[in-house]
Amino acid sequence: MNFLSRLRRPGTRKAGVVALTVAFAALLAACGQDHPDSIFHNRTDVNRDVDYLFKLLIGAGTGVFIFVETILIVALVKFRKRPGQPEPKHVHGNTTLEIMWTVIPALILGVIAVPTVRTIFKTQAAARADALQVEVYGHQWWWEFRYPQYTMTGANGKVDTVVTANELYLPIGKTVNFTLRSRDVIHSFWVPALSGKRDVVSNHTNYLWYTPDSTTEAVFNGACVEYCGTSHANMRFKAFTVTQADFDSWIEHQKLASVDLMPPPAPVAPAAGTPAKPGAPAVTAKPATTPAMAAAAATPAPVVQAGFVMFPREKMPVSTVPQTPYPEKLKFDDGLLANGNAAAGEKIVNTNMCIACHTIRGNPMMQAVLGPNLTHVATRTTIGAGLYPNDAQHLARWVKNAPSMKPGIIMPTFGIGEYDPVTLKGIVKTGFTDAQVSDIVAYLQTLK
C-alpha cells in the first residue's frame, strides 16, 4: 500500500502525450490558415526591421528552449529512480558550470541587445520631411484621422482640413508620419500588418512612421489595443493602401463639401410636389444604389471628383468586411429603406440632436465635432468604427438604436418605442419612426 509505488502510471502518461500531440497537430494545422492581421506580412520598412528582430528572438529562444528541455528530459529519464539504486552522490555545485550558464546566456542576450538598440533608434528617429502627415485622434470609441497637408476653404472663408473617421487612406511607397493624440482616455493605434503599435496618450503627443512600400492596393484591419472602456473591443478601423494617383483622387474628393438639399435655392426636382414620397430632389449620386438615388440621377449634379473616391468594396477581402450580427431584439422594416427621402432626411437631421455632435461640411446646421465627421460618410465601407458594414440596413439600425449596436456609446437611441440600453427608458414620444429613419439613411447615403 505504499503510495509511492503507484506513482508512475504509464497509462495516464501516455494519454497525456497523446493529448498534447493532438493539440500541437491542431496548432500546426491552424498555422496554415489565412491570417489577415498577422504581424508577419512585411508590408512596410518598419515591419521588416521588426521581423528581422523577431526572427532573431524566436531563433535564439527556440534554441534555448530546445537545449533546456532536452537536458531536462535527459535528466528525468536518465536519473529516474530504479529499484536497488544506491543513494546519489552528493554534489553541491560546480563553479565552472555555473559560470558557463551565466556567461553564455549573457552573450546570447548581447547578440539580441545590439540590433534591438539599433532598431529602436532607427524606428524612433524623426520621420523624413516629405512624409505624408496624418493626425490621429483617439476617441471613446472611434478614430479621427486628419490630413493637415490638405486643406480647403469653405463658403464662409473658414479653412478646413481633410478629416475622416475610422478609415485611413495611405499612398503606397510614401512614408506616412502619424501624430497621435487622444481626446479622452488612453488608446493605442495599431495596424498589425503594417507596424507595431503606439499608444495614444491623453495630454501627450506621440509619433509613429512607416512606409507601406511592399504592398499592393490592399485593406488592413486596425484596432485600438489599449483598454479604453466599455467598447474597447469595438474601436476598430481600416487602413487602405492605394496608389499615389488614387490617393490624390481620393483626397481631392474628400476636400469637396456635401450638397445641401435643404435650402430654398434647391434645383427644381422633376418629381416635385410630394416631398415626403419617393423621388427626392437633387443628389450627387455616383453609383446609384437605391431607387431614391436612381430617381435623383436625372437632376443636375454639382461637380464631383471623377475617378477614385473610395476603395472598391468588391476588392475588399472577406476578413475586412465586418460580420458583426445585429442585436437580436433590434427590428427594422427594411422594406421602407427603398422609399427613403433624402431631403426629408436632411430636414430631420438638421432639426434633431444630430446637430449636437456631427459635422457635415456643406450643411450649415451640422458643425459639431463630438462625433465622427459625416461629410463623406457614404464613401466609407464601415460604420461604428469598423463594427458594421456601411449599408442601408445597418445604417438604419444604427440610427434607430446605436447604443444597442455598440455598448456604451454616447450616441442616443432615436427609434420610437426603442429601449435605451443605458438609461433603460423607452423612447416613446420623441423617437423617429422607421420611415423617418429611412429618410435619414437616404440622406446619409447621398454623402458621397
Binding site: M1, F121, C228
Partner: protein
C-alpha cells in the same frame, strides 16, 4: 504496512478551545493562520477561475454574446485582481506563515497577533472587493487601472471605488505581514542557523518580504492620489487640469514589476525545496541560488518601464529598460540550470509534488523566453497588448507560480494536516492541469501574433483566430476539471488520507523533524543547527558530507532536533535510511505518540485573541463607508467613517494593552 485508519497522530489539550469556530477566529498560531490563508486563497482561486471560464466561453467563437461588454470588462478586471491579490499572494502567504517559523526553528512569528490581523484584513478586504458583484458594479478598469479611465469623469460608478479601496486594504495586509516575516527571519532563527543555512524557501520568502515592503508603498501612493481625485476633487490624474497620465503608469509599474517577482519567487522557493528532496541530492549551487534570487529582486526594481514601451518614452529610455530587462534573464536562467542540475545525477522520484516542480522548470522556461522577446521594444510593440503577452504572463503565473504552489500544496499537505494527499488522484489532477494549461495558453501565442488584441469582449469572424480560441477554451475547461479533481483530493484526503508521519518524503529541513501536524509550540526543544540539511545529516549523512556549512563529524551527535522529550518519534526518525523514500516506522510511531502540551512543557505561547479580527473588521468597514460618499450620502458616509475609525482605534487600544502571553 501502515496502520491505516488511525485517528489524529497526537492530541493536544490546550486550556483554550482548540477546535471549533471560535478557536479559528481567535487563533494567533502561525500554522492555523497559514491554513486559513490557504483555504481562503483556494476559495478565491475558484472564483477567479470561474471568471476566466466565463470569459473563455464568451471568446470560444467570434461575436460571442454570453455576457455583455460591460460584464466582460468587469470579469477580466476582477480575474486579474483576484488571481494576483487574492490567490497567488495569499497562497504564498499561506506558505510563509506555515513554513517560515518551522524552517528556521522558531515557535511562532515575531508578532503573532499582527499576523492574525494580516489575515483578517485580507479576508475582509477580499470580501469587500467582491461585494461589488452583488451591487452589479464590479471593478472595470483593468487590474492595472490606467488613468484617466479611472477618473470620475470616465468611470462615475462605484466600480473603481471598490477596486481602489480594496487594493489599499489588501496593501495593509501585505505590508503588516511583510514586516512581521522580516522581523521573524532576522531575529528568530534557531541557534546555529546562519543566513546561509536557511532553507531555500525561507530565503526566497525573505527576499519577497523586502519586495513587498518596497513596492507596496508606491502603489499605495498612486491609489491615494486616485482616491483624492475621486473623493475630494484633486487633479493628480485630471486630464482637463493638465495632468500627465504617465504618472499613474510609472507609479503602478514601479510597484507592478516587483509584484511579478512577489508572485513567482515563493514558487521558486517551494520548487527549490521539492527538487532536492525527490532527487535525494542537495540543491545545486545553493549560494548561487540565493544570490540569483537577490539579484532578480534587485533588478526587478529597474525594469518597470518595459511595461510602457508603447507609450512613447523615447529611444534612450526604451534602450535602457530593454537592456536591464534582458539582464534579469541571466539570474533566472541560472536558477533553471541549477534546478536541472539538482536533478542531474539524482535519484528521481516522480511524486505529484515533484511533477509540479518539474513542470514549473519546463514551462516557466517558455514564459522566460517570451519574456526576453518582450524585452526588445521594436518586437514588443507588435506583441504587447495582444494575446501573445497574455500567453507570456500566464506561462509565468500559471505554469510558474500556480504550478509551484500546487507542488507546494502536495508537498506540505502531509505536514499541514498529518495526512497524505492521494497520489493517484493527484496524478489525474497534475496531468489534467498540465494538458489544460498548455492547451489554453500555448495557442494564445499564435492568436496574438496573428493580431488579436487582448481585453476584447468580442472579435470578428474571418480573422483566422477561431481555432486558437477554441483550443484555449477547451484547455480552460480541462483546467476547471483539474481544479475539481484537486478539490476532491483535498476533501477526501483530509478525511481518509494515509497518515503522514513526521517525514514522509525523506526531506532535509527542520520542519520534517516534528510531528505532522506540528504541535502549537512546534519545537519542544529549540534545535541547534549546524548545517543546511540537518535531517539528512542525521538520516542520510552520505548526502551531505561535502556540503559547505556542514561541519563534518559533528552533525551526527550535536544536532539536536526538537522533541526528544515529547515522544518516541525521535527514535523512529533515527531508524535509518528511508526505504523507497519513506520511513514506514515513522508513520507507525507517530500514531502512538501523545504529545505534551505547551503548558506541560513550560513553553509560553501567545494567548488566542479576537481583537485583531475586530481591528481588521472596523478598518475595512471604515474604508467601505467611503462608498457612501459616492452614492450621494456624504453626511452618512462621514459619520460612518468616523464611527468605524473610533471603533478601530478602540479595538486597537484593547489589543495593545492586553498581554501577549503568560508572564514568564
Amino acid at each position: 504496512m501502515a496502520t491505516a485508519a488511525v485517528g489524529v497522530p497526537y492530541t493536544v489539550a490546550d486550556d483554550y478551545a482548540n477546535s471549533g469556530l471560535w478557536s479559528w477566529l481567535t487563533t494567533v498560531d502561525h500554522k492555523r493562520i497559514g491554513v486559513l490563508y490557504m483555504y481562503t486563497a483556494l476559495f478565491w482561486f475558484g472564483c477567479g477561475g470561474l471568471e476566466a471560464e466565463i470569459m473563455r466561453w464568451q471568446l470560444k467563437g467570434p461575436n460571442g454574446h454570453v455576457v455583455t461588454a460591460e460584464m466582460f470588462n468587469q470579469l477580466f478586471t476582477m480575474h486579474g485582481t483576484t488571481m494576483i491579490f487574492l490567490v497567488v499572494m495569499p497562497l504564498s502567504a499561506a506558505f510563509f506563515n506555515f513554513l517560515i517559523p518551522l524552517q528556521i526553528g522558531a515557535r511562532d512569528v515575531a508578532f503573532p497577533r499582527l499576523n492574525a490581523f494580516s489575515y483578517w484584513v485580507y479576508l475582509f478586504g477580499s470580501l469587500f472587493m467582491n461585494t461589488s458583484w452583488l451591487v452589479g458594479q464590479a471593478p472595470n478598469g483593468g487590474w492595472f487601472g490606467y488613468a484617466p479611465l479611472t477618473a470620475l469623469q470616465y468611470s462615475p460608478g462605484l466600480n473603481i471605488d471598490f477596486w481602489m479601496l480594496g487594493l489599499q486594504i489588501l496593501g495593509v495586509s501585505s505590508l503588516a505581514a511583510a514586516f512581521n516575516f522580516i522581523t521573524t527571519i532576522i531575529n528568530m532563527r534557531a541557534p546555529g542557523m546562519n543566513l546561509m543555512r536557511m532553507p531555500m524557501f525561507t530565503w526566497m520568502a525573505f527576499i519577497v518580504q523586502f519586495l513587498l515592503v518596497l513596492a507596496f508603498p508606491v502603489i499605495t501612493i498612486a491609489l491615494v492620489f486616485l482616491q483624492f481625485d475621486r473623493f475630494f476633487g484633486t487633479n493628480f490624474y485630471m486630464m482637463t487640469a493638465g495632468a500627465d497620465p504617465l504618472l499613474w503608469q510609472h507609479l503602478f509599474w514601479i510597484f507592478g514589476h516587483p509584484e511579478v517577482y512577489i508572485l513567482i519567487l515563493p514558487a521558486f522557493g517551494l520548487v527549490s525545496e521539492i527538487l532536492p528532496t525527490f532527487s535525494r541530492k542537495p540543491i545545486f549551487g545553493y549560494p548561487v541560488m540565493v544570490y540569483s534570487g537577490i539579484l532578480i529582486a534587485f533588478l526587478g526594481f529597474g525594469v518597470w518601464a518595459h511595461h510602457m514601451f508603447a507609450v512613447g518614452m523615447g529611444p534612450i529610455a526604451d534602450s535602457v529598460f530593454a537592456v536591464t530587462t534582458m539582464l534579469i534573464a541571466i539570474p533566472t536562467g541560472v536558477k533553471i540550470f541549477n534546478w536541472i542540475f539538482t536533478m542531474w545525477g539524482g535519484n528521481l522520484r516522480f511524486t505529484v509534488a515533484m511533477k509540479y516542480a518539474i513542470s514549473l522548470v519546463a514551462l516557466f522556461t517558455i514564459g522566460g523566453i517570451s519574456g526576453v522577446m518582450h524585452a526588445s521594444p521594436p518586437a514588443d510593440l507588435q506583441q504587447t497588448d495582444t494575446y501573445f503577452i497574455v500567453a507570456h504572463f500566464h506561462y509565468v503565473l500559471v505554469a510558474g507560480s500556480m504550478m509551484g504552489l500546487s507542488g507546494g500544496i502536495y508537498y506540505y499537505f502531509p505536514k499541514i494536516t498529518g495526512r497524505m494527499l492521494s497520489e493517484k488522484i493527484g496524478n489525474w489532477q497534475f496531468w489534467l492541469t498540465f494538458i489544460g494549461v498548455n492547451l489554453t495558453f500555448m495557442p494564445m501565442h499564435w492568436s496574438g501574433l496573428y493580431g488579436m488584441p487582448r481585453r476584447v469582449y468580442t472579435y470578428d469572424a474571418g480573422q483566422g483566430w477561431e481555432i486558437f480560441n477554441q483550443m484555449s477554451t477547451a484547455g480552460a475547461l480541462i483546467q476547471a476539471l483539474a481544479a475539481f479533481v484537486g478539490l476532491y483530493n483535498i476533501i477526501k484526503s483530509r478525511k481518509s488520507g494515509e497518515i503522514a508521519g513526521n517525514d514522509p518524503w525523506g526531506a532535509p529541513s527542520l520542519e520534517w523533524s516534528i510531528p505532522s501536524p506540528p504541535p502549537d509550540y512546534n519545537f519542544a526543544v529549540i534545535p541547534t543547527v549546524t548545517s543546511r540539511y540537518p535531517l539528512w545529516d542525521v538520516k542520510s549523512p552520505e548526502l551531505t558530507t561535502d556540503v559547505p556549512h556542514s561541519r563534518v563529524g559533528d552533525e551526527h551527535n550535536t544536532i539536536a532536533i526538537g522533541g526528544k522529550t515529547v515522544g518516541s518519534f525521535q527514535d523512529s526518525m533515527a531508524a535509518g535510511t528511508p526505504e523507497g523514500g519513506l520511513n514506514p516506522n515513522a508513520r507507525q510511531a507517530s500514531t502512538k505518540v501523545s504529545l505534551k502540551t505547551a503548558e506541560q512543557l513550560g513553553i509560553p505561547m501567545p494567548y488566542p485573541t479576537i481583537k485583531p479580527l475586530f481591528v481588521a473588521l472596523f478598518m475595512v468597514l471604515m474604508f467601505a463607508s467611503l462608498l457612501l460618499i459616492h452614492v450621494n450620502k456624504e453626511t452618512m458616509g462621514l459619520v460612518a467613517v468616523l464611527t468605524f475609525a473610533t471603533a478601530m482605534t478602540f479595538s486597537l487600544y484593547l489589543w495593545l494593552t492586553s498581554p501577549l502571553e503568560p508572564s514568564h
